[in-house]
Symmetry: C2
Subunit: 108 residues, 2 copies
Amino acid sequence: MGLTKSEIFTDEQNEIAAIAKVLGHPARIAILDFIIKLKSCVCGDLVKDIGLAQPTISQHLKELKKVGIIKGTVEGTSVCYCIDEENWEQIKNRLNKFLNKNPTENCC
Amino acid sequence: MGLTKSEIFTDEQNEIAAIAKVLGHPARIAILDFIIKLKSCVCGDLVKDIGLAQPTISQHLKELKKVGIIKGTVEGTSVCYCIDEENWEQIKNRLNKFLNKNPTENCC
DNA sequence: TTTGTTTATTGCAATATTACGATTAATAAA
DNA sequence: TTTATTAATCGTAATATTGCAATAAACAAA
């Protein structure tokens, strides 16, 4: 049915999955790589750097913004995107909390 | 077109996205939570614990296995699933390497 | 062998995602 | 105001994902 049954999972499970889902596309990883590498925000250079059409990049930026990883500031006709440091820190903590839930023993 | 253009991204970007994508569904997070919590492997108890049909759970297990997070051992008629410690460690390192790529400054 | 138990696979319907052309919106510059 | 530039939105086609009923496969036990 293509419809995830979110209601049967905990909030935490849904939230972690939502974050991971957004990171689950190479274009969005590439966008983050680019923004982080330049240590400053980037506008439409992403379109040139990554080989995807402008509407596609814009769509990916929207998803990254939706979960709070990045934020955009309008500067004239262009928009400056950069990591939303505060949220990004929280998101990383959340992910790390999950990643560190290690089993101490294993049976197989 | 629904088709990700993997060829325009680096191997690392594709790999990180592939891992994140698998973690991008609450059912798979719930499965991992369950397996980790019991500190041992689990067989079909997942179907009872999580409210999804057996074929659906089986499908999610398959995906987790595909990226190497878990492994399954046949035990009679049932299958014992548990974290593939070695791979899981590598996957976590890969994710952490990405998560730690922080910008030192920000412009907006 | 037959029966029961457990898991995997197949097939399918419903929905989601990805990508992009065309267009719109917003602003800057002439 | 007109024109150029940049980014967002709309609409749509192609493909992927999710979920499950039905079935098959694999094995244990009777």
